[in-house]
Amino acid sequence: MLVLRDLQKQYTKFRLGYLWTLLEPLGMSIVLWFVFSVLLGARALGLQPYLLFLSLAILPWWWFTKGVAASTRVFRRAGGQLRISLLPTELWVLRVLLVSMVEFLLSLPVVLIAMLVTGTWPGPLILLFPVAIVLQFLLMYGLSLLISAGSVVIPDLARIVRIVLRALFYLSPVLYSISNIPQQLQGVAALNPLVGVLGLYRIGFWPEEIESAAGYGISLALCLVILVVGIIVFRRIEPRILKEA
Protein backbone atom coordinates (compact mmCIF):
# COMPACT_ATOMS: atom_id res chain seq x y z
CA MET A 1 0.00 0.00 0.00
CA LEU A 2 0.84 3.60 0.02
CA VAL A 3 2.44 3.32 3.39
CA LEU A 4 5.09 1.08 1.96
CA ARG A 5 5.88 3.63 -0.65
CA ASP A 6 6.05 6.20 2.04
CA LEU A 7 8.39 3.97 3.95
CA GLN A 8 10.72 3.60 1.03
CA LYS A 9 10.89 7.32 0.74
CA GLN A 10 11.68 7.74 4.37
CA TYR A 11 14.37 5.24 3.93
CA THR A 12 16.03 6.83 0.96
CA LYS A 13 17.03 9.58 3.32
CA PHE A 14 19.02 7.15 5.41
CA ARG A 15 20.35 4.94 2.70
CA LEU A 16 23.49 6.95 2.41
CA GLY A 17 24.10 6.03 5.97
CA TYR A 18 23.25 2.37 5.62
CA LEU A 19 26.64 1.46 6.94
CA TRP A 20 25.66 3.16 10.13
CA THR A 21 22.85 0.74 10.72
CA LEU A 22 25.55 -1.89 10.83
CA LEU A 23 28.24 0.00 12.63
CA GLU A 24 26.10 1.37 15.39
CA PRO A 25 24.92 -1.90 16.94
CA LEU A 26 28.19 -3.58 16.16
CA GLY A 27 30.10 -0.91 18.00
CA MET A 28 27.65 -1.08 20.86
CA SER A 29 28.02 -4.84 21.13
CA ILE A 30 31.77 -4.58 21.14
CA VAL A 31 31.80 -1.91 23.80
CA LEU A 32 29.51 -3.87 26.06
CA TRP A 33 31.39 -7.07 25.37
CA PHE A 34 34.63 -5.33 26.21
CA VAL A 35 33.32 -3.90 29.44
CA PHE A 36 31.59 -6.99 30.73
CA SER A 37 33.73 -9.73 29.34
CA VAL A 38 37.24 -8.36 29.21
CA LEU A 39 37.33 -5.68 31.87
CA LEU A 40 35.04 -7.21 34.43
CA GLY A 41 35.73 -10.74 33.37
CA ALA A 42 32.18 -11.60 34.31
CA ARG A 43 32.08 -15.15 33.05
CA ALA A 44 28.95 -15.81 34.97
CA LEU A 45 26.98 -13.30 32.99
CA GLY A 46 25.09 -14.53 29.97
CA LEU A 47 26.29 -17.33 27.77
CA GLN A 48 29.40 -17.85 25.73
CA PRO A 49 30.48 -16.54 23.31
CA TYR A 50 29.36 -13.34 24.88
CA LEU A 51 29.82 -11.14 21.80
CA LEU A 52 27.31 -13.17 19.85
CA PHE A 53 25.08 -13.42 22.85
CA LEU A 54 24.98 -9.64 23.14
CA SER A 55 24.47 -8.79 19.51
CA LEU A 56 21.54 -11.19 19.30
CA ALA A 57 19.66 -9.23 21.91
CA ILE A 58 20.88 -5.74 21.24
CA LEU A 59 19.52 -5.59 17.70
CA PRO A 60 15.95 -6.53 18.65
CA TRP A 61 16.26 -4.29 21.68
CA TRP A 62 17.11 -1.34 19.48
CA TRP A 63 14.25 -2.04 17.21
CA PHE A 64 12.06 -2.12 20.29
CA THR A 65 13.26 1.18 21.74
CA LYS A 66 13.28 3.04 18.47
CA GLY A 67 9.82 1.89 17.50
CA VAL A 68 8.27 2.53 20.89
CA ALA A 69 9.96 5.88 21.33
CA ALA A 70 8.87 6.96 17.86
CA SER A 71 5.28 5.98 18.56
CA THR A 72 5.02 8.72 21.16
CA ARG A 73 5.50 11.28 18.42
CA VAL A 74 3.48 9.76 15.60
CA PHE A 75 0.49 12.01 15.74
CA ARG A 76 2.31 15.19 16.50
CA ARG A 77 4.36 14.62 13.38
CA ALA A 78 1.41 13.71 11.21
CA GLY A 79 -0.02 17.16 11.78
CA GLY A 80 -2.30 18.39 9.05
CA GLN A 81 -2.21 15.13 7.17
CA LEU A 82 -4.60 13.50 9.59
CA ARG A 83 -7.15 16.18 8.90
CA ILE A 84 -7.59 15.16 5.33
CA SER A 85 -6.63 11.53 5.51
CA LEU A 86 -9.24 9.00 4.53
CA LEU A 87 -6.93 6.15 5.46
CA PRO A 88 -7.28 4.26 8.73
CA THR A 89 -5.54 6.08 11.56
CA GLU A 90 -3.68 2.93 12.59
CA LEU A 91 -1.57 3.21 9.48
CA TRP A 92 0.37 6.04 11.03
CA VAL A 93 1.38 3.81 13.87
CA LEU A 94 2.12 0.92 11.58
CA ARG A 95 4.29 3.13 9.45
CA VAL A 96 6.79 4.10 12.14
CA LEU A 97 6.83 0.53 13.29
CA LEU A 98 7.68 -0.70 9.82
CA VAL A 99 10.40 1.89 9.43
CA SER A 100 12.09 0.75 12.59
CA MET A 101 11.61 -2.87 11.57
CA VAL A 102 13.30 -2.34 8.24
CA GLU A 103 16.20 -0.81 10.04
CA PHE A 104 16.34 -3.83 12.28
CA LEU A 105 16.31 -6.26 9.38
CA LEU A 106 19.02 -4.32 7.63
CA SER A 107 21.20 -4.46 10.71
CA LEU A 108 20.97 -8.24 10.98
CA PRO A 109 24.28 -8.85 9.20
CA VAL A 110 25.81 -7.79 12.49
CA VAL A 111 24.77 -11.15 13.88
CA LEU A 112 26.48 -12.79 10.94
CA ILE A 113 29.64 -10.88 11.70
CA ALA A 114 29.48 -11.95 15.31
CA MET A 115 29.03 -15.55 14.19
CA LEU A 116 32.07 -15.33 11.94
CA VAL A 117 34.21 -13.72 14.59
CA THR A 118 33.32 -16.22 17.26
CA GLY A 119 33.03 -19.19 14.92
CA THR A 120 29.74 -20.30 16.38
CA TRP A 121 26.94 -21.67 14.22
CA PRO A 122 23.29 -22.11 15.11
CA GLY A 123 21.41 -25.36 15.50
CA PRO A 124 18.05 -26.26 13.93
CA LEU A 125 16.16 -24.17 16.47
CA ILE A 126 17.31 -21.08 14.57
CA LEU A 127 14.05 -21.64 12.71
CA LEU A 128 12.41 -19.92 15.66
CA PHE A 129 14.20 -16.72 14.73
CA PRO A 130 11.49 -15.53 12.31
CA VAL A 131 8.90 -16.50 14.89
CA ALA A 132 10.62 -14.18 17.30
CA ILE A 133 10.47 -11.38 14.76
CA VAL A 134 6.77 -11.87 14.20
CA LEU A 135 6.12 -11.96 17.92
CA GLN A 136 8.10 -8.86 18.57
CA PHE A 137 6.21 -7.17 15.77
CA LEU A 138 2.89 -8.04 17.34
CA LEU A 139 4.05 -6.95 20.76
CA MET A 140 5.34 -3.68 19.44
CA TYR A 141 2.24 -3.01 17.39
CA GLY A 142 0.08 -3.40 20.47
CA LEU A 143 2.37 -1.26 22.57
CA SER A 144 2.68 1.40 19.90
CA LEU A 145 -1.07 1.65 19.55
CA LEU A 146 -1.37 2.06 23.30
CA ILE A 147 1.42 4.57 23.60
CA SER A 148 0.64 6.64 20.53
CA ALA A 149 -2.98 6.97 21.59
CA GLY A 150 -1.98 7.53 25.18
CA SER A 151 0.43 10.31 24.38
CA VAL A 152 -2.33 12.22 22.68
CA VAL A 153 -4.32 12.19 25.91
CA ILE A 154 -1.32 12.60 28.21
CA PRO A 155 1.41 14.65 26.56
CA ASP A 156 3.86 13.76 29.32
CA LEU A 157 3.77 10.13 28.35
CA ALA A 158 6.74 10.53 26.03
CA ARG A 159 9.00 11.31 28.96
CA ILE A 160 7.63 8.50 31.04
CA VAL A 161 8.13 6.04 28.22
CA ARG A 162 11.73 7.08 27.87
CA ILE A 163 12.43 6.36 31.51
CA VAL A 164 10.55 3.07 31.47
CA LEU A 165 12.48 1.98 28.39
CA ARG A 166 15.74 2.61 30.11
CA ALA A 167 14.68 0.63 33.14
CA LEU A 168 13.40 -2.12 30.90
CA PHE A 169 16.81 -2.43 29.31
CA TYR A 170 18.19 -3.69 32.58
CA LEU A 171 15.11 -5.66 33.47
CA SER A 172 15.27 -7.59 30.22
CA PRO A 173 17.76 -10.29 29.46
CA VAL A 174 19.90 -8.26 27.10
CA LEU A 175 23.14 -8.22 29.03
CA TYR A 176 22.42 -11.41 30.89
CA SER A 177 20.52 -14.60 30.36
CA ILE A 178 17.30 -15.54 32.03
CA SER A 179 19.13 -18.37 33.72
CA ASN A 180 21.30 -15.82 35.54
CA ILE A 181 18.29 -14.76 37.51
CA PRO A 182 17.66 -16.47 40.85
CA GLN A 183 15.18 -19.31 40.56
CA GLN A 184 12.49 -17.62 42.64
CA LEU A 185 12.49 -14.54 40.46
CA GLN A 186 12.25 -16.31 37.14
CA GLY A 187 8.49 -16.49 37.41
CA VAL A 188 8.31 -12.76 37.90
CA ALA A 189 10.69 -12.14 35.03
CA ALA A 190 8.44 -14.08 32.71
CA LEU A 191 5.89 -11.31 33.15
CA ASN A 192 8.13 -9.21 30.95
CA PRO A 193 7.10 -10.20 27.44
CA LEU A 194 10.53 -9.31 26.13
CA VAL A 195 11.98 -12.21 28.05
CA GLY A 196 10.23 -14.66 25.80
CA VAL A 197 10.93 -12.76 22.63
CA LEU A 198 14.61 -12.29 23.28
CA GLY A 199 14.83 -15.88 24.39
CA LEU A 200 13.49 -17.02 21.06
CA TYR A 201 16.12 -15.07 19.20
CA ARG A 202 18.82 -16.88 21.09
CA ILE A 203 17.41 -20.33 21.24
CA GLY A 204 18.99 -21.37 17.96
CA PHE A 205 22.42 -20.96 19.47
CA TRP A 206 21.79 -22.16 22.97
CA PRO A 207 19.13 -24.87 22.70
CA GLU A 208 19.63 -25.85 26.34
CA GLU A 209 17.81 -22.63 27.26
CA ILE A 210 14.56 -24.15 26.14
CA GLU A 211 14.03 -25.53 29.63
CA SER A 212 12.25 -22.41 30.70
CA ALA A 213 9.60 -23.05 28.07
CA ALA A 214 6.75 -22.39 30.45
CA GLY A 215 8.17 -18.95 31.10
CA TYR A 216 8.24 -18.26 27.39
CA GLY A 217 4.65 -19.30 27.13
CA ILE A 218 3.60 -16.70 29.66
CA SER A 219 5.42 -13.85 28.04
CA LEU A 220 4.19 -14.84 24.62
CA ALA A 221 0.62 -14.87 25.82
CA LEU A 222 1.28 -11.43 27.25
CA CYS A 223 2.31 -10.17 23.83
CA LEU A 224 -1.08 -11.13 22.51
CA VAL A 225 -2.90 -9.59 25.46
CA ILE A 226 -1.06 -6.32 24.92
CA LEU A 227 -1.92 -6.42 21.25
CA VAL A 228 -5.62 -6.88 21.94
CA VAL A 229 -5.67 -4.21 24.64
CA GLY A 230 -3.80 -1.88 22.32
CA ILE A 231 -6.32 -2.31 19.55
CA ILE A 232 -9.27 -1.78 21.87
CA VAL A 233 -7.81 1.29 23.54
CA PHE A 234 -6.83 2.76 20.23
CA ARG A 235 -10.36 2.38 18.90
CA ARG A 236 -11.72 4.21 21.89
CA ILE A 237 -9.29 7.08 21.73
CA GLU A 238 -9.34 7.46 17.97
CA PRO A 239 -11.90 10.32 17.93
CA ARG A 240 -9.71 12.21 20.35
CA ILE A 241 -6.69 11.73 18.14
CA LEU A 242 -8.55 13.11 15.16
CA LYS A 243 -9.61 16.14 17.13
CA GLU A 244 -6.09 16.98 18.12
CA ALA A 245 -4.85 16.79 14.56
Binding site: M1, L2, R5, D6, K9, K13, G79, G80, Q81, L82, R83, I84, S85, L86, L87, P88, T89, E90, R235, E238, P239, L242, K243, E244, A245
Partner: protein, 269 residues
Protein backbone atom coordinates in the same frame (compact mmCIF):
# COMPACT_ATOMS: atom_id res chain seq x y z
CA UNK B 1 -11.09 1.40 11.01
CA UNK B 2 -12.07 2.89 7.71
CA UNK B 3 -12.93 6.52 8.01
CA UNK B 4 -15.90 6.56 5.75
CA UNK B 5 -18.57 4.03 6.43
CA UNK B 6 -20.99 4.42 3.60
CA UNK B 7 -24.70 3.95 3.96
CA UNK B 8 -25.76 2.68 0.60
CA UNK B 9 -29.49 3.07 1.02
CA UNK B 10 -29.41 6.67 2.22
CA UNK B 11 -31.62 8.83 0.04
CA UNK B 12 -29.36 11.87 0.32
CA UNK B 13 -25.70 12.17 -0.48
CA UNK B 14 -25.00 13.21 3.07
CA UNK B 15 -27.12 13.42 6.20
CA UNK B 16 -26.32 15.00 9.54
CA UNK B 17 -28.60 14.04 12.40
CA UNK B 18 -28.26 16.28 15.45
CA UNK B 19 -24.53 15.85 15.08
CA UNK B 20 -22.20 17.59 17.46
CA UNK B 21 -18.55 17.53 18.22
CA UNK B 22 -16.46 18.86 21.08
CA UNK B 23 -13.03 20.09 20.26
CA UNK B 24 -10.18 20.84 22.59
CA UNK B 25 -9.82 24.57 22.84
CA UNK B 26 -6.64 25.71 21.18
CA UNK B 27 -4.57 26.58 24.14
CA UNK B 28 -1.87 29.12 23.89
CA UNK B 29 0.81 26.48 24.25
CA UNK B 30 3.24 26.61 27.14
CA UNK B 31 2.27 29.60 29.24
CA UNK B 32 -0.25 28.67 31.83
CA UNK B 33 -0.23 25.00 30.95
CA UNK B 34 0.92 23.87 34.34
CA UNK B 35 -1.65 25.90 36.16
CA UNK B 36 -4.32 24.56 33.91
CA UNK B 37 -3.27 21.05 34.63
CA UNK B 38 -3.29 21.74 38.34
CA UNK B 39 -6.74 23.13 38.14
CA UNK B 40 -7.91 20.18 36.16
CA UNK B 41 -6.52 17.84 38.75
CA UNK B 42 -8.22 19.92 41.40
CA UNK B 43 -11.44 19.35 39.50
CA UNK B 44 -12.10 23.00 38.82
CA UNK B 45 -11.94 22.65 35.08
CA UNK B 46 -13.24 19.36 33.90
CA UNK B 47 -11.93 19.39 30.41
CA UNK B 48 -10.81 22.14 28.20
CA UNK B 49 -13.22 21.53 25.39
CA UNK B 50 -15.82 23.53 23.62
CA UNK B 51 -18.66 22.44 21.40
CA UNK B 52 -17.59 23.33 17.92
CA UNK B 53 -20.76 22.11 16.38
CA UNK B 54 -23.95 21.13 18.08
CA UNK B 55 -27.24 19.66 17.08
CA UNK B 56 -26.65 20.01 13.37
CA UNK B 57 -29.35 18.39 11.31
CA UNK B 58 -29.47 18.73 7.58
CA UNK B 59 -28.98 16.74 4.48
CA UNK B 60 -27.40 17.35 1.16
CA UNK B 61 -28.77 15.85 -2.02
CA UNK B 62 -26.53 14.44 -4.67
CA UNK B 63 -25.35 17.04 -7.15
CA UNK B 64 -26.07 19.96 -4.86
CA UNK B 65 -23.56 22.66 -4.08
CA UNK B 66 -24.06 23.94 -0.59
CA UNK B 67 -22.49 27.04 0.90
CA UNK B 68 -21.46 26.84 4.53
CA UNK B 69 -21.81 30.44 5.62
CA UNK B 70 -20.51 31.66 8.94
CA UNK B 71 -17.80 33.70 10.52
CA UNK B 72 -14.58 32.40 11.96
CA UNK B 73 -15.12 30.01 14.80
CA UNK B 74 -18.63 29.19 13.74
CA UNK B 75 -17.77 25.55 13.28
CA UNK B 76 -17.24 25.42 9.57
CA UNK B 77 -14.20 23.27 9.61
CA UNK B 78 -15.71 20.92 12.15
CA UNK B 79 -18.69 20.51 9.91
CA UNK B 80 -16.60 19.79 6.86
CA UNK B 81 -14.40 17.33 8.68
CA UNK B 82 -17.43 15.55 10.07
CA UNK B 83 -18.79 15.36 6.56
CA UNK B 84 -15.60 13.79 5.31
CA UNK B 85 -15.29 11.52 8.33
CA UNK B 86 -11.93 12.84 9.49
CA UNK B 87 -13.72 13.73 12.69
CA UNK B 88 -16.04 11.47 14.60
CA UNK B 89 -19.15 13.10 16.08
CA UNK B 90 -19.51 13.03 19.87
CA UNK B 91 -23.26 12.97 19.58
CA UNK B 92 -25.72 12.37 16.82
CA UNK B 93 -24.63 10.84 13.57
CA UNK B 94 -23.29 11.62 10.16
CA UNK B 95 -24.18 9.27 7.36
CA UNK B 96 -23.09 9.44 3.80
CA UNK B 97 -23.83 7.54 0.67
CA UNK B 98 -20.93 8.98 -1.26
CA UNK B 99 -17.32 9.11 -0.30
CA UNK B 100 -16.59 12.71 0.60
CA UNK B 101 -13.11 14.02 -0.09
CA UNK B 102 -11.94 16.68 2.34
CA UNK B 103 -10.23 19.62 0.72
CA UNK B 104 -9.08 21.35 3.87
CA UNK B 105 -5.72 22.97 3.57
CA UNK B 106 -4.45 20.13 1.46
CA UNK B 107 -1.38 22.15 0.53
CA UNK B 108 -0.24 21.85 4.13
CA UNK B 109 0.00 18.12 3.79
CA UNK B 110 2.47 18.27 0.95
CA UNK B 111 5.90 17.29 2.14
CA UNK B 112 8.80 19.52 1.22
CA UNK B 113 11.33 16.76 1.36
CA UNK B 114 9.53 14.70 -1.26
CA UNK B 115 9.58 15.19 -4.99
CA UNK B 116 6.46 16.37 -6.73
CA UNK B 117 5.83 12.86 -7.95
CA UNK B 118 6.13 11.41 -4.47
CA UNK B 119 3.81 14.07 -3.16
CA UNK B 120 1.18 13.12 -5.67
CA UNK B 121 1.36 9.55 -4.46
CA UNK B 122 1.33 10.60 -0.84
CA UNK B 123 -1.48 13.13 -0.85
CA UNK B 124 -3.44 11.24 -3.44
CA UNK B 125 -3.18 8.23 -1.17
CA UNK B 126 -4.33 10.19 1.84
CA UNK B 127 -7.37 11.23 -0.11
CA UNK B 128 -8.17 7.67 -1.01
CA UNK B 129 -6.47 7.08 -4.34
CA UNK B 130 -4.76 3.78 -4.84
CA UNK B 131 -1.14 3.91 -5.97
CA UNK B 132 -2.28 2.61 -9.35
CA UNK B 133 -4.79 5.42 -9.71
CA UNK B 134 -2.22 7.97 -8.78
CA UNK B 135 0.32 6.49 -11.14
CA UNK B 136 -2.10 6.56 -14.02
CA UNK B 137 -3.13 10.12 -13.42
CA UNK B 138 0.21 11.53 -12.53
CA UNK B 139 0.76 13.07 -15.93
CA UNK B 140 -2.59 14.79 -16.07
CA UNK B 141 -2.32 16.04 -12.50
CA UNK B 142 1.08 17.52 -13.19
CA UNK B 143 -0.14 19.02 -16.44
CA UNK B 144 -3.13 20.64 -14.79
CA UNK B 145 -0.99 22.09 -12.04
CA UNK B 146 1.62 23.14 -14.55
CA UNK B 147 4.43 21.33 -12.79
CA UNK B 148 5.56 18.81 -15.40
CA UNK B 149 8.97 20.37 -15.59
CA UNK B 150 9.65 19.87 -11.87
CA UNK B 151 7.97 16.49 -11.51
CA UNK B 152 11.06 14.83 -10.11
CA UNK B 153 12.42 17.82 -8.28
CA UNK B 154 11.96 18.29 -4.58
CA UNK B 155 9.00 20.34 -3.62
CA UNK B 156 10.89 22.30 -1.00
CA UNK B 157 11.85 25.18 -3.19
CA UNK B 158 8.51 25.53 -4.95
CA UNK B 159 6.61 28.74 -4.19
CA UNK B 160 3.36 28.52 -2.22
CA UNK B 161 1.34 29.17 -5.31
CA UNK B 162 2.71 26.06 -6.96
CA UNK B 163 1.98 24.03 -3.85
CA UNK B 164 -1.60 25.21 -3.89
CA UNK B 165 -2.02 24.43 -7.53
CA UNK B 166 -0.60 20.99 -6.98
CA UNK B 167 -2.84 20.35 -3.99
CA UNK B 168 -5.85 21.45 -5.97
CA UNK B 169 -5.04 19.26 -8.92
CA UNK B 170 -4.49 16.20 -6.78
CA UNK B 171 -7.74 16.68 -4.92
CA UNK B 172 -9.77 17.05 -8.05
CA UNK B 173 -8.09 14.04 -9.61
CA UNK B 174 -9.46 11.76 -6.91
CA UNK B 175 -12.54 11.51 -9.08
CA UNK B 176 -14.72 11.59 -6.00
CA UNK B 177 -18.40 12.37 -6.33
CA UNK B 178 -18.43 14.70 -3.35
CA UNK B 179 -16.07 17.27 -1.92
CA UNK B 180 -15.92 19.18 1.36
CA UNK B 181 -14.00 22.33 0.61
CA UNK B 182 -12.64 24.83 3.03
CA UNK B 183 -11.68 28.35 2.06
CA UNK B 184 -9.90 27.88 -1.16
CA UNK B 185 -12.09 26.48 -3.83
CA UNK B 186 -10.24 28.48 -6.38
CA UNK B 187 -6.57 29.19 -6.03
CA UNK B 188 -3.64 30.47 -7.95
CA UNK B 189 -3.14 33.11 -10.54
CA UNK B 190 -5.80 34.33 -12.90
CA UNK B 191 -5.09 31.82 -15.60
CA UNK B 192 -5.16 28.87 -13.21
CA UNK B 193 -8.34 30.14 -11.55
CA UNK B 194 -9.98 30.24 -14.91
CA UNK B 195 -9.13 26.62 -15.51
CA UNK B 196 -10.34 25.73 -12.02
CA UNK B 197 -13.71 27.30 -12.65
CA UNK B 198 -14.09 25.47 -15.90
CA UNK B 199 -13.22 22.20 -14.28
CA UNK B 200 -15.49 22.74 -11.31
CA UNK B 201 -18.40 23.80 -13.48
CA UNK B 202 -17.96 20.67 -15.54
CA UNK B 203 -18.04 18.59 -12.41
CA UNK B 204 -21.16 20.31 -11.18
CA UNK B 205 -22.88 19.65 -14.45
CA UNK B 206 -21.79 16.10 -14.02
CA UNK B 207 -23.66 15.91 -10.72
CA UNK B 208 -20.78 16.10 -8.28
CA UNK B 209 -21.73 17.29 -4.80
CA UNK B 210 -19.92 20.18 -3.16
CA UNK B 211 -19.85 21.59 0.35
CA UNK B 212 -18.09 24.91 0.32
CA UNK B 213 -16.99 26.97 3.29
CA UNK B 214 -15.38 30.22 2.37
CA UNK B 215 -15.06 33.86 3.27
CA UNK B 216 -15.76 34.97 -0.22
CA UNK B 217 -19.38 35.93 -0.94
CA UNK B 218 -18.43 36.06 -4.57
CA UNK B 219 -17.61 32.36 -4.68
CA UNK B 220 -20.80 31.51 -2.87
CA UNK B 221 -22.97 33.47 -5.29
CA UNK B 222 -21.18 32.16 -8.31
CA UNK B 223 -21.20 28.60 -7.19
CA UNK B 224 -23.75 27.48 -4.64
CA UNK B 225 -27.37 26.41 -4.91
CA UNK B 226 -28.24 27.03 -1.31
CA UNK B 227 -26.68 27.90 2.00
CA UNK B 228 -26.40 26.68 5.54
CA UNK B 229 -25.80 29.48 7.99
CA UNK B 230 -23.70 28.63 11.01
CA UNK B 231 -23.34 30.69 14.11
CA UNK B 232 -21.27 29.60 17.04
CA UNK B 233 -21.64 25.95 16.21
CA UNK B 234 -25.36 26.00 15.55
CA UNK B 235 -27.16 25.72 12.28
CA UNK B 236 -29.14 28.95 12.29
CA UNK B 237 -30.77 28.78 8.92
CA UNK B 238 -30.93 26.87 5.70
CA UNK B 239 -31.86 29.27 2.96
CA UNK B 240 -30.78 30.72 -0.33
CA UNK B 241 -27.28 32.06 -0.67
CA UNK B 242 -28.12 35.80 -0.84
CA UNK B 243 -30.36 35.55 2.16
CA UNK B 244 -27.78 33.72 4.26
CA UNK B 245 -25.17 36.27 3.33
CA UNK B 246 -27.34 39.18 4.35
CA UNK B 247 -28.22 37.41 7.60
CA UNK B 248 -24.55 36.99 8.30
CA UNK B 249 -23.90 40.64 7.61
CA UNK B 250 -26.80 41.52 9.86
CA UNK B 251 -25.52 39.48 12.78
CA UNK B 252 -22.06 40.94 12.35
CA UNK B 253 -23.47 44.42 12.55
CA UNK B 254 -25.40 43.57 15.69
CA UNK B 255 -22.44 42.26 17.60
CA UNK B 256 -20.08 45.14 18.12
CA UNK B 257 -16.95 43.18 17.30
CA UNK B 258 -16.27 42.38 13.69
CA UNK B 259 -15.16 38.84 14.61
CA UNK B 260 -17.98 37.60 16.80
CA UNK B 261 -16.17 34.70 18.40
CA UNK B 262 -13.49 33.75 20.82
CA UNK B 263 -10.00 34.58 19.64
CA UNK B 264 -8.74 31.07 20.29
CA UNK B 265 -10.57 29.65 17.37
CA UNK B 266 -8.81 31.61 14.68
CA UNK B 267 -6.12 29.01 14.23
CA UNK B 268 -8.77 26.40 13.89
CA UNK B 269 -10.15 27.67 10.67
Amino acid sequence: MARQDLTRDLDAALAFESAGVRMPRRRRRRGDGRRQRLRRIAGEVRRDEVWRLRDATFSVAEGESVAIVGGKGSGREALLRLAAGTLVPDEGSVRRRLGVVPMIDVARSLVRGYTVRQNIYLVGGLLGMTPDDAGRQIESIAAFAGVESILDKYLGAAPPLVRQRLAWSITMATGSRAFAIEQTLIVGDRDFRQRCWTRVDEMRDDGVTFLLASDSPKQFRRFCDRAILLDNGHVVAQTSVPEALSMLRESRRRSSEPEPDDPDSTTDL
